[in-house]
Symmetry: C2
Subunit: 170 residues, 2 copies
DNA sequence: AGCAGTATCTGCATCCATGCAGCTAAATGT
DNA sequence: ACATTTAGCTGCATGGATGCAGATACTGCT
């Protein structure tokens, strides 16, 4: 993550930070996974829901592109999200072929209510910083989010080869 | 997450922080997901690998408990991790029935090398804080990780009912 | 030694997400 | 008007993860 920084000085602290950060990211990731599962969402559904929530709405095709699924699979994915009440389809007035997938706010809150209680641990952690320190933390959160999104895009872009589905036959 | 704090004063900033934090967590989660996929890992595999990596090694049974899978499914899971080179089985000298699953360090580094480049975005973000500010940030990372792990456990514990596999029938 | 309990593995069946290919509706270009 | 392209949906087939139940190997107790 930041071994990019000139390695000239590589004091023990550096290594510590690396490990700490890695474990932190891992912990956040697992918590997200558990949350998704608690909401009854599979990975791709959670991923898709995040995307449409962040953008406020996405067309089926855009979603297909972003997730890397075929349009057919995406249709099914939207079906599932819709059935579970997390998203709904809306018509695009500009282009009547298109389908805009929107998040359903109530359902999102529903997730939050499932996950919220457990997150009091986080609240406790955040609570014991001074206002100035919180300032720093939230500055980081605000800056890091786009950075993570950029990293995600790069990682996904490089994963078109998908070692997981090797030429499965003609 | 921290709406637990007395809601008496609920200034706009509060709401902002909430949104910022949520989007941040989401971004981190998606990045993790993308990383896992880039490494050719499915959700449960990634989850399991994180667990054994954090603990340095876990028995098959413990892994089954933690993941919520049956022992049979866990065997298969370990098979896949082993085949992919991310973990290996080791004998427990104390109890020869048991199998200890250990992470393979090289494979972990392999993941890091796939994901690392994209994370330079994060490095850039972290780089522009002063040492004092970094101190605060890493203090948070170190404290938040266990908090997330605790939250994860609670969430999973409450998800035994799994609305996803409704009485599927004899 | 024998017996009960425990840890893991294996065979079988099932479920479900996904790819693929063809289809219809709508937009766009000539 | 007609042809072409684009967006999304549906039928069919496949693969892979998982549960379940029984098999096997080992431990610990008596």
């Amino acid at each position: 993550m930041y071994e990019v920084i000139p390695a000239v000085a590589n004091p023990p602290r550096h290594q510590d930070e690396h490990v700490i950060y890695r474990q932190y990211l891992d912990a956040v990731g697992l918590q997200g996974l558990a949350s998704a599962e608690a909401a009854g969402l599979h990975t791709s559904e959670w991923y898709a829901l995040s995307l449409i929530t962040f953008r406020g709405g996405l067309s089926s095709g855009e979603l297909a592109t972003r997730t890397g699924l075929t349009t057919g699979a995406t249709t099914r994915l939207i079906d599932r999200l819709e059935k579970a009440g997390f998203a709904r389809r809306a018509a695009d007035p500009r282009d009547r072929r298109r389908v805009i997938v929107e998040p359903v706010p109530d359902a999102l809150d529903r997730i939050e209510s499932v996950v919220g209680p457990a997150r009091r641990h986080l609240a406790e952690v955040l609570a014991h910083y001074t206002p100035e320190q919180r300032e720093v933390l939230f500055d980081y959160f605000a800056r890091a989010a786009p950075a993570f999104r950029a990293a995600t895009e790069e990682i996904r872009a490089s994963t078109t080869d998908s070692r997981r589905r090797p030429g499965r036959k003609p």
